[in-house]
């Protein structure tokens, strides 16, 4: 269970302060399938980063089950992430010097999992990029990179999957395939939270959170 209480996030850039989040209160149960929607710059990515413990909140309290994430030190944050979170970044965040295969393999290496090959190939096939496994990300199209990033997130096999516009670079058909995949892992009990601009995608999620100007609106 994810509980956010009065979460705020300010970005300070040379005197200028951006209030990206202005008091977010939300509870997300385990196994929910949530879409976060809102206009560009409304704070969606910022919120997802905080849920994924990729960034610090400026104030407020973030509880994950019994754990107070906002009170964790760096080491505990990393542990929390490793155990619980997989993340699809808006800009994919793939390692440019490694092949698609190696990128997807990385979370498995980090978790000391043996016999990685079949697992990696499985996710590559699910994402329809098995034939690209030996290419490096910069030689792929945006959609292919996105699918690689999703395959990497899925491979980590964590209870929570966070995806920042996972279908943003995909055509409708491929987008649908990806959504099917998300629905399937959600059925297996995992919490899925994704950001989208696409109303069709949002409608396929069981819950939709609207964000406007750093606040949740109902």
């Amino acid at each position: 269970m994810i509980i956010l209480k009065d979460i705020t996030k300010d970005y300070t850039n040379k005197e200028q302060v951006t209030h990206a989040l202005r008091g977010i209160n939300v509870t997300i149960q385990d196994g929910e399938f949530v879409a976060i929607v809102g206009t560009s710059g409304s704070g969606k990515s910022t919120l997802l980063n905080i849920i994924g413990a990729m960034d610090y909140a400026t104030s407020g309290k973030y509880m994950f089950h019994d754990r107070e994430i906002t009170a964790c030190d760096l080491k505990e944050l990393h542990e929390f992430r490793k155990e619980n979170i997989s993340f699809v970044f808006q800009n994919f965040a793939l390692m440019d010097k490694y092949t698609v295969y190696e990128n997807v393999e990385m979370p498995l290496i980090a978790r000391h999992i043996k016999h990685r090959k079949s697992i990696v190939m499985d996710y590559l096939e699910k994402m329809g990029i098995a034939d690209l496994k030996n290419k490096i990300p910069s030689h792929l199209s945006g959609g292919q990179q996105q699918r690689c990033a999703i395959a990497r997130a899925l491979a980590a096999d964590t209870p929570v999957l966070l995806a920042d516009e996972p279908t943003g670079a995909l055509d409708q058909n491929t987008g649908n395939e990806i959504m099917k995949c998300f629905e399937e892992i959600n059925k297996n009990g995992k919490t899925v939270i994704l950001i989208t601009h696409d109303i069709n995608i949002a409608n396929r999620c069981k819950r939709v959170i609207h964000i406007e100007d750093g606040k949740i609106i109902d």
Binding site: H78, F89, N91, A93, L94, M95, M106, A110, R111, R152
Partner: protein, 416 residues
Amino acid sequence: MRILRFAFDMIAMQFKKFLLTVVLMVISLLLIMFSVMIYKGKQYSYISCDDILSKGIEGTAILRLDEDSFLNVKGVKAFFKEAYERKEIYSVGNMVEYGCYYESLEELYEIQKGHTQDYELALQGGLLEINCMNLGAAFLCDLKLEEGISPKKLEFDESEKMFYLYIGAAYDSVEVGSEFIEKNGTKFIVAGRMEEQQRWVDSNVENGYNSERLDCSVDCSYGIFMVGNYDVYSGGLWISAEDGYTIEQAIDAAKEVGDKYDISFSYETLANMYEQDEEDVDLLLSYLAKLLGIVIAASLLMIITTQIVTMLENAKAYGVMYVVGFSPKEVNKMLLWKHIITAVSSLVLTAPLCVLVAKYRFSTDDMSYMIKTLLIHYVFPIAITVEIVIVVIMQMITVTVLRRFTPVKLIQNKVV
């Protein structure tokens, strides 16, 4: 193992910066090694010389005969004989390494073949290398005998055709007491066999003490000393003072005797030679120290900035590592490997360079001695310590910088 691979990959990604760091480290290391080498080499050299001489550096001097005296064969002989009897003088004599051919000494030649200290003479081939000396020179260093009689008890006739041999431990098949007689009547008597560890002062020291000669002693296992009633072969005579007398007093006594036989000479004490050499070395060291200060400060600064720049440029990669589940500990370990690889590469490059420099700096017949003593004991440990310090500094800096950023910042590369 995976972590190690990542470390290699990180290096490969920024190979030019890696090379720059290695080169900077090599330069600093080489300078440090060179300074240590010179500093320590000086001490080694001094000790080796001081230890081998019966009366040490303080008690020993070199006399240089004037040309007329050099030719005054009879006078020199008489001078040797009488000077040696003086109470102020412990030993005085002439000593010269010499390649000679004596038919009767074939047996010794067969043993010595290929083992001569002096490379050039060995090359000429067919010659037996002998250290010819007057009786007085036989006490310049401690002659320790396995068997045989001490040079003190030797008896000489005036015929000039009898020589006593002291042979090295390698000639164990030659019996002490054996006599070898040449067709012309020259007789060699084996008076004793030296102990296995016997060493003797390098006769080159006669031409001036110099700390570039790392080891002033030479191994005598294959050596042959021929003690006889010689006149002089070279202008340099060794003299050492009896206990209770200074070397100056000994020289004064020698002068008195010299006056009597019309023998004149100039002199130089080993201590003087040493001081002269020390001044040169200290001057060199002081230059080196200044250079070192500048070079080390500059390269350390460059190494640090290069590390930070490399790290910032790789920020995304570190961020991704965090995000996919690597712990800070593992990322730090990877960084550490990266730094260790850098340090080891520079050491591996520097070590042979250092041996080359050492070879150039020090004239020694025995490289392995130098490597074993000077390099392994002092230069390399210091170099390794320096490397460890650099690795620790690099590690501390990168880890501290890395810790300041959240994964999001690293991934978005918003770190600069």
